[in-house]
């Protein structure tokens, strides 16, 4: 059977297995990105509107997570998570062995890393909103929530989207590192297949192909969203 057949969906083919691994990559990436979004919003909030202590903490958080290799953070959550679960488990009276799923470790680790980057994007986007438009909203009686919803968020979105697109791309690529925990996503699956069949180049190329598909589709989606958020801006030729 030809080498390409190994990628197919026949009985000897790894195609189905690779496809499932690709979906796992998407799953852990989405989960991590959403964690990052929630935490990143909180951190951005702390840096923008918090008191001095909160601001310092938020800044320390960002500096730390951007200065430590992602793989170390993943190891920390994986091994550390095991130790935590083990400690809690034995304290509660359960017997070993204890484990933490690679998915959970990966999602939390990458989520934490992404939150640092996302908070910077969100902070920059907020600062780019012209203060005059916020005043105009306040002066006609808008409350804080309405102001955020109708004036701040739509304008901040324009600045935030490209940055968030970059963050998403980073998360997809970082998800490959979760393979060290044994989670069967694309990287791991491709390694296993390569090792089993000794067709290293083929399978690593296939893996690269899967990532390229995911990143290209994501890029198109974000560009679409960016174009739509640009309504009214000079030079975009939209409307009227």
């Amino acid at each position: 059977m030809g080498e390409i057949g190994l990628l197919g969906f026949g009985p000897d083919g790894w195609g189905l297995v690779l496809a499932k691994a690709g979906l796992m990559t998407l799953a852990v990436s989405v989960a991590a990105f959403l964690c990052g979004l929630v935490l990143g919003t909180l951190v951005a909030w702390a840096r923008i509107g918090g008191n001095a202590v909160l601001r310092a903490l938020a800044e320390a958080y960002t500096v730390t997570l951007r200065g430590v290799p992602d793989i170390l953070v993943i190891y920390l959550f994986y091994f550390g998570g095991r130790q935590v679960v083990a400690a809690v488990g034995t304290a509660l009276g359960f017997a070993g062995p204890f484990d933490i799923s690679g998915f959970a470790a990966g999602m939390l680790a990458i989520g934490l890393i992404s939150a640092a980057g996302q908070s910077e994007v969100l902070r920059g986007a907020y600062q780019a909103v012209p203060k005059g438009t916020i005043e105009a909203g306040r002066v006609c009686g808008m409350g804080r929530f309405t102001l955020f919803r109708r004036v701040i968020a739509p304008q901040a979105m324009v600045t935030a989207l490209p940055g968030m697109g970059n963050q998403w791309q980073s998360v997809i690529k970082e998800s490959a590192l979760v393979s060290v925990t044994g989670l069967v996503e694309t990287m791991r699956q491709v390694s296993v297949a390569a090792g089993t069949t000794q067709e290293h180049f083929l399978f690593y190329a296939a893996g690269a192909g899967i990532y390229l598909v995911i990143t290209t589709l994501s890029d198109q989606l974000f560009r679409l969203a960016e174009r739509r958020s640009l309504r009214g801006h000079p030079g975009t030729g939209t409307g009227a």
């Binding site: 730390t64 290799p69 550390g80 590192l177 393979s179 290293h200 180049f201 690269a208």
Partner: protein, 229 residues
């Protein structure tokens, strides 16, 4: 807090520092040169397509796959095994370095491209109108302004490459992370070991960030509110 353990751990981990620094600095240097080349290639149509494809592939796939591809994947080709490159390409060090260089080149070339695009056309026109030739304009106006524009993004890239070097531990290299992994499988005190390693990387990244900030302030004092250089 087992201080003797931690102290001993730091000592062991720091033995990996030379390799980490080596890979870090060489990948930035090699990547920078290749990035310049890529940008020069973009002048022609074919070159632009090639450079574009290169950047697309290397920025769209994880570094880990690039490392494995070079270390494991290339070895499958007879033509490589019998070439003069083989003594290098079968060594994890050279494979790792190659992967890092190729990866950095893709990101750096985009940063450089952005910097060049951000040079205001008016400043170049002002140079032309004062009689400067093309090379003079490039040297006195375009490149200095492009570098100043690109500096914040490039300092991010420098830190990224530091973190990227940690991945070579997956192909048996004993950099800081490699030593940490070995230590974990020996003593199983994972969290302490990993935190020590993290501290070392954090220290390096903070030093670099400060240096880059200083450089930014020196090169563009007007951005930071200073009225005199």
């Amino acid at each position: 807090m087992d201080v003797t353990f931690l102290a001993g751990m730091f000592q062991s981990l720091l033995k990996g520092l030379p390799l980490t620094l080596n890979l870090w600095l060489l990948s930035l240097a090699g990547g920078g040169c290749l990035a310049l080349l890529l940008n020069l290639m973009r002048q022609s149509r074919v070159g632009n397509a090639v450079a574009g494809a290169y950047v697309f592939v290397f920025r769209g796939t994880p570094l880990l796959i690039q490392i494995f591809m070079i270390y494991y994947g290339l070895a499958g080709f007879g033509v490589i095994r019998h070439s003069i490159l083989w003594p290098f390409l079968r060594e994890p060090y050279w494979c790792g370095l190659l992967a890092l260089v190729l990866n950095d080149a893709a990101y750096t070339s985009e940063i450089l491209r952005g910097g060049l695009r951000a040079v205001p056309r008016g400043t170049v026109e002002a140079g032309r109108v004062s009689g400067m030739g093309r090379i003079a304009i490039l040297r006195r106006i375009t490149l200095p302004l492009a570098i100043r524009q690109a500096l914040p993004a490039y300092s991010n890239e420098i830190i990224s490459m530091l973190k990227a070097t940690a991945l070579v531990s997956t192909i048996t290299l004993m950099d800081i992370t490699g030593i940490a992994r070995a230590a974990i499988s020996e003593t199983w005190r994972a969290v302490e070991i990993l935190l020590c390693a993290a501290v070392i990387y954090l220290a390096l990244s903070i030093i670099v960030t400060r240096l880059c900030g200083w450089l930014e302030r020196r090169l563009s004092p007007w951005h930071f509110g200073r009225t005199t250089p």
